[in-house]
Each structure stands twice: as structure tokens, then as C-alpha cells.
Symmetry: C2
Subunit: 160 residues, 2 copies
DNA sequence: CCGTATAGTCAAGATACTTGACGATATTCA
DNA sequence: TGAATATCGTCAAGTATCTTGACTATACGG
């Protein structure tokens, strides 16, 4: 295949990493836009990344820090912002005077509900675009990939 | 370990967006770590995102701005950094007095070469983890998804 | 009680990105 | 030609995210 000029399109190569990044980014942009349209102007990707680690019934801040792969200070600052927005609140942990429990407010739970709805909408769009079978294969591959962590990525993301 | 209260794991739901995000993030962390280990200490994820849009033979800065989905100022600041690191250089466009051509230096091309090698390594690791077939299905789904853009994400990423 | 570990905070700085304003060149068209 | 307009890139300031280091308060083990 003699591509004579076309070296111009050599960027954005066809690699897993790039594809994953592009797909992930597109999803986030679509989701964030829908969330903001739904009235959750406080929504951002970084905040979404944190909220994804907070179950509906709340969690201890320290547990949250373990799940998210960032520093406790980064988590704290995001929590500060979300608390200031009225999405979350921090209550003292009755079982540990040092700890705080991170819980959703009414506003936060409303956002979660809208988020679930939007996720399903986007998912339907994806299935329309690539077909049910391909979508299932995508999810299967991603799940398997995730399950196989702990070995391969141990050195990369290890807490040190 | 009998988890008796299981609502606790309700976070991080099993949705495409989350899976894509996690997978993309894991890839980037692994890739960036390998790049830095290979001696490219200047490497960062944001810079990688930009470099992915710059073909080996260079590009016009304005063309770059169109490809990357951010503001021209963001692109410029990343370019400033990469230029200061000696990875890129900006040459005047002989055909347009206003324009600049963004080109790789020797150092930049070396990094691209290492990057290609590392990508293949990671890809091999993925295939080992999820099998050749699943990996092929993953790539197929991601490519099809990407090809189907332009309608669905038009409103989200439009320049406006 | 004492030493150590854990939970969270405070403060400062780096990076990435956004907005607004601007100068320089190119293009269009009367 | 020459003026209006558009494009290309830069400068400057502000916001958001994340990182590091230092610190307080509580818990735990002896």
C-alpha cells in the first residue's frame, strides 16, 4: 500500500491507549454537558471522578482516599468544593473521633439520579451506533481488563 | 470475607463511561511511567494528548488547535512548555506570515520512537491478559465507536 | 502515661486550562 | 488601492486540579 503523501495523518495512531483515551474523553464530555444541562452546573470531570467512588450511603473520607488513586489533599480539596456546592456534607464519625463521614445531601442524591438516567441515555446511543453485540464485546473486554489488574499495573500505580 | 453490608460497594458502577475512564487512566499511568523511566522526564499526560495530534513531519499550529479540542491558548501553553524542553520547535510558515510550523526536534523524534516501542509492549501485555480475540473485539468496538461520531457528539465538542 | 500510627487540615506551589485583549498578517471587496 | 474583516498567534490574568510538606487531633498498644 503505497501511501504517497498521507504521512500527514500519521498522528493519532491506532493504538489501544489512544482509542481508550478518545473514547473516554468523548464520553465524559457528553456526560458532563448533559449533567450541566440538567441543572447541575457544579459538575466537572474531576468531581465526577471522585463521586464515582462515593456510594449512595456515604463513606469514610479515609476509605475514599484509598479508592481514588490520588493524594488525600487532592481528595480533600475536591470534597471542600463539593461541600461548598451543597452536594456533599461531612459528618463526624461516631465510631472514630478522628474520622469524617462523607454523605450526599438531597441535592447530591438528585444529581446521582439524573446521572444514572443520563448514563443510560448515552449507553443507548452507543448501542445504536455500534450494535448490541459489539457493545457487549466492549464491556466484556473492559471488564476482563479491569479484573486482570493487580499484576500488570502493580508497578505503575502502586502506592509505593 | 463475608461482606454483610454490601450496599457499600455500590459506587463505581459498571457503566461504559466508568470502564472507559478507568481503562484509559490505567493505560496513561502505565505509559507515562514507562516514558519517564525511558529518560523522558518531561513527559506528562496533557503533553501526550497534544503530541498525539502532531504528525512526525510537523503541522501548522492552527491545524493543531483544530484537532485538539481545546482553546488555542491551552495549546499554545503546552507548546511553550514542549518547546522549552527542546521536544518541539516552532518555525515560521513560509507560506503564511502569520502562521507557525510545529516540528519535532531530534529529542522529540527520539521520544516518539520510544513511545511506539512502549505502546507495543503495553499492547502485548493487554493481549496476554484478555486474549487476542477479546483484544481484537475491543479495538473493533472502539474504532466503530469513533467512526460513528460527528452526529452524536457534534453538540458536545463543537467549536462554537 | 508514652510513643507511634492514623485521620484530617492548612498552606504553598506546580500544572493545566479558560477568558479577554491585543498585534500582525492575510483576504475580501468596493 | 485601500478599508473592513478574518485568521494566526501572543500576552496577561484568573480558575481548577493536583502535589508536597508541615501540622493538629484522636486512637491504639504497651
Amino acid at each position: 500500500m503505497v501511501k504517497l503523501l498521507d504521512e500527514k495523518t500519521e498522528a493519532s495512531p491506532d493504538h489501544v491507549g489512544w482509542r481508550l483515551w478518545q473514547a473516554s474523553r468523548a464520553w465524559q464530555v457528553e456526560f458532563a454537558a448533559a449533567m450541566r444541562s440538567a441543572g447541575h452546573a457544579w459538575f466537572s470531570e474531576a468531581r465526577a471522578g471522585l463521586l464515582g467512588h462515593i456510594p449512595r450511603n456515604g463513606t469514610r473520607q479515609s476509605a475514599l482516599i484509598e479508592r481514588a488513586a490520588t493524594s488525600k489533599q487532592a481528595v480533600q480539596q475536591l470534597l471542600d468544593g463539593l461541600e461548598a456546592e451543597g452536594v456533599l456534607e461531612r459528618l463526624p464519625d461516631p465510631r472514630d473521633g478522628r474520622g469524617k463521614l462523607v454523605c450526599y445531601t438531597r441535592k447530591g442524591l438528585d444529581a446521582l439520579r439524573d446521572g444514572d438516567r443520563i448514563k443510560l441515555q448515552i449507553e443507548r446511543g452507543y448501542i445504536d451506533r455500534i450494535g448490541e453485540q459489539r457493545f457487549a464485546a466492549l464491556m466484556d473486554a473492559l471488564r476482563t481488563l479491569d479484573a486482570g489488574r493487580g499484576d500488570a499495573s502493580a508497578g505503575a500505580s502502586g502506592p509505593k
